[in-house]
Symmetry: C2
Subunit: 337 residues, 2 copies
């Protein structure tokens, strides 16, 4: 059974999962370039994964070939689906049973595919699968947050190079979401009528210099205090609380935005390792104001002692420069050869 | 001029430093095995660094050979020593001028040295240099915290393999220190008379299973909610608020403890990349209760999308196992070959 423990003093939570130590690359010295023959996400290898929980397919039967997108439980799950969420308190030692879910969404049957280069419709379907799995897992009364995320490249923690995303449903609202909710609340309390993130969009569009690209429904920008070089956020212009309520029409536009931004990062930084993750409203806190968005963070620098010690970050690239580079106005001269 | 910016919504601060982008390995694809001929920290190469601010030497003159420990300003500083700490507020955009200090402490003239293998007296001198520079920088009225830390190995962000530590003085109390102070305050408010960290020591020594090693003055343990595999803390048994007030006698014992723990990590994990950093009381907040300690975090796993998205961590090694491995009772079987 997994266990989620809280630090003695701080609001830091850690998931301990014995299963995770058995996965390939758990202690990273394997390459992520899994050969097709061994790839559990390739068509014809469906037997290498647990049975699918969702698949988009034109033909074929469950757990056979013929799919375009396939979602399966993670074979090495951080959290498990069975059991109740009990809290354990023993003086300073606080923990919660590691109940939740951990799934993989295979984004394409193309082993060497990259979201930036997949057809628009395929990326749209990836986003649709995210929303479907979010809704399905949010229906579990034990779940309080559903984190959708993607690791691309070995540096970013990907164990497999075959394009895939992951979904982890957890019984606790994550610290970073709580911090954002508190920021939104504090902004509202200052007498402002609007949502903090709506205000960010208004200001940043007005100032222009951190905007990467904008279309009818979404804005991609480098945030003012980007923690990482080329950290990029995609936000819906309309005030939308939750990712899974995005309309079909908007999902089509979002697919284009996401492909566009990932393509810019790919070209400017030569296919960098990156993570992205969707920040959306918690599933139980119906009253909490929120404005969903997607954050992309390339892995170009190391998190070192200063960052681990302080919780601060050092970023050698100001977001204004990163935005100009991603807009194609200047070239990145510090780029390693 | 460097700039320290706050995230729109959350208590995340980021240091933007153009100088940092020029340093070797800023975007990590250089190896950290700097050849001696190019090493700015080797004896005889003193001209490759800014003038020293502290050195322990038997003979010779400032900025010449003959030293055993040498402290110099970082050539690529995250923060600069000149100017006033002005705060800038423009609606959602909050920043502070990047004033502070950034220094390097060269731990030995031996290019291939490792703290775990240096003579006891040398490690004691490294700790003495930490305390001296902490006191010197804390005397600057603009400084609110002094972070002493070490990056060892490329994965841990070290640009140079020659053994060295760093000191960054910042004009803001870091988030993680504030969180610990709040944890200590909350613990006290529950009617407990003792310090939270004193209580952690009492409980953990009683339970034994997360203790790595103990001597007359210090305890090394794997914390209950270790964020990283083999994360190890060293805490003084006596309630001591600040690192720079450690007595000479205790510093001698601490040097032994630190060498011992680093040696255990070296042997069990085959010279892993790691960071350590000293958490000590902020320099201005005289009333805040604190209990200094040193945290060591090896780099064996990647921080991926789930961690970046949530602020949670996934750790595949429970601290009880890590402690048993570091005590030499069991071998680490998941260790990558």
């Amino acid at each position: 059974m997994s266990e989620i423990r809280k630090d003695y003093a701080t609001p830091t939570w850690v998931v301990f999962s014995a299963a995770r130590s058995q996965r390939p690359g758990a202690f990273r010295n394997t390459k992520d370039a899994t050969p097709k023959a061994d790839c559990p996400f390739c068509e014809g290898h469906e037997g290498m994964t647990p049975p699918e929980v969702l698949a988009y397919r034109d033909g074929g039967t469950a757990d056979g070939p013929g799919w375009s997108i396939r979602c399966v439980p993670n074979k090495f799950p951080a959290l498990e689906r069975s059991g109740e969420v009990r809290e354990h308190r023993d003086g300073l030692l606080v923990s919660v049973d590691g109940v939740g879910a951990h799934e993989v969404i295979v984004e394409s049957s193309d082993h060497d595919g990259h979201l930036a280069n997949l057809p628009d419709l395929q990326v749209e379907d990836v986003l649709r699968a995210y929303a479907e799995r979010h809704r399905a897992l949010a229906a579990d009364r034990r779940v309080r947050y559903v984190q959708i995320f993607k690791n691309h490249g070995e540096r970013a923690g990907a164990s497999f190079s075959h394009p895939h995303s992951q979904v982890i449903a957890i019984p606790i609202v994550p610290l970073r979401i709580l911090e954002e909710i508190e920021g939104i609340r504090a902004h509202g309390a200052e007498g402002d009528v609007g949502c903090l993130y709506c205000e960010i969009l208004r200001r940043e569009l007005e100032m222009e210099r951190r905007i990467v690209v904008e279309n009818e429904s979404f804005v991609a920008l480098e945030p003012f205090a980007a923690r990482f070089p080329f950290e990029t956020w995609i936000l819906p212009k309309a005030h939308e609380r939750a990712f899974d309520s995005v309309s079909d029409a908007d999902r089509r536009v979002l697919a284009r935005s996401l492909k566009d931004v990932l393509g810019r990062l790919y070209r400017a930084l030569d296919d960098p390792s990156f993570n992205y993750y969707i920040h959306t409203a918690p599933v139980r806190e119906r009253e909490a104001a929120y404005h969903w968005h997607l954050e992309i963070t390339p892995h170009l620098t190391e998190i070192a002692g200063f960052e681990r010690g302080t919780g601060f970050y050092i970023n050698p690239v100001v977001p204004e420069d990163a935005a100009a580079i991603l807009r194609g106005e200047i070239r990145w001269t510090s780029r390693p050869e």
